[in-house]
């Protein structure tokens, strides 16, 4: 009959970092805000002076809204994809055994 004694073992581990859920959610909301900016001049149906009218040439406000919305959406989606790509790269490089 063998006697089992408690052997101390030093175990060091590296844990997977926590996901920045709030920050990623912020990027998603930014992308949605950019999409809203693109759609706003046509959805709200502006009727005031200087507003975008249906069928008319784009006003300066409409051009600014669409371009800024496209920029915000593109940057937010690119940042989300970049974060996803970097996370996948890190997992593929260091977490193959899990």
């Amino acid at each position: 009959m063998s006697t089992q004694t408690t052997q101390p073992i030093a175990v060091a581990a590296v844990r997977r970092p926590a996901r920045p859920v709030a920050a990623l959610l912020g990027l998603g909301l930014l992308a949605l805000a950019g999409a809203w900016l693109i759609a706003a001049p046509f959805v709200l149906g502006y009727h005031g002076a200087g507003d975008q009218r249906r069928g008319a040439a784009w006003t300066a406000a409409t051009r600014v809204d669409v371009s800024a919305g496209a920029a915000v959406t593109a940057v937010a989606v690119a940042a989300l994809l970049g974060y996803l790509a970097s996370a996948i790269t890190w997992l593929a490089r260091y977490r193959q055994a899990e």
Binding site: Q7, A10, V14, R15, P17, A18, A23, L30, A61
Partner: protein, 204 residues
């Protein structure tokens, strides 16, 4: 018998498992934390906040009103959405920045099981003081029981040193002190010998 066991040798993430008083080697094998993703997030959020600031200024810069008495709806939408995008971009940048700083500050070298999921904040004291702690082998899941038929049960083997003495991982000041102490001692001895030689020369 002193034996070094590395049951997780082929597995990434667990770097050291020694028995019988062996200390773990220097943690030159630590996995670098993923910092590229938070950096991309910070850059994207800052760019979005800049676009939001532009939207706040656009109704006045491009004169949407064009002499009208009331502010057009496009100006209201631009101001509201621009303010929201600006604030949300700043908050997102702060959140990603906090994540980036947290990942760069402390090596994520915590004691425990490699397979257990958790965040860096789970055990801040563990990697703030020492990256390695001694845990019983029987407490580790999946560990094979080690039998010792040769040693009598009445004479337990000497336990290894305390966990704090295992590795000076999170004590760079102590390592620097250990490095500089002999140098300072040698310098003091040199100065003392020089002063002694000058005194003897004056006496002669």
């Amino acid at each position: 018998m002193s034996e070094s066991v590395s049951p997780f040798g082929a597995e990434r993430g667990v770097q050291c498992a020694r028995v019988d008083g062996f200390d773990c080697p220097e943690p030159a094998f630590l996995e670098p934390p993923p910092v590229l993703g938070p950096f991309i997030g910070v850059a994207g959020a800052v760019l979005c906040s800049l676009v939001g600031a532009f939207l706040l200024l656009a109704p006045f810069a491009f004169d949407y009103r064009q002499g009208a008495a009331a502010m057009p709806h496009s100006s209201v939408v631009d101001l509201a959405t621009g303010g929201g995008v600006f604030a949300l971009g700043l908050l997102t940048a702060i959140a990603f920045g906090a994540v980036l700083v947290r990942r760069l500050r402390v090596p994520e070298f915590v004691a425990g099981n490699a397979g257990s999921a958790g965040s860096f904040e789970a055990e801040p004291a563990a990697y703030a003081t020492s990256g390695v702690t001694l845990v019983p082998e029987q407490a580790r899941p999946g560990a094979e029981p080690q039998s010792q038929p040769s040693s009598p049960p009445s004479q337990p083997e000497p336990q290894p040193a305390a966990p704090a003495a295992a590795t000076p991982l999170a004590d760079p000041g102590g390592a620097l002190r250990d490095l500089l102490t002999p140098l300072v001692a040698a310098l003091a001895a040199d100065l003392r010998a020089r002063e002694t030689g000058e005194t003897e020369g004056k006496n002669q």
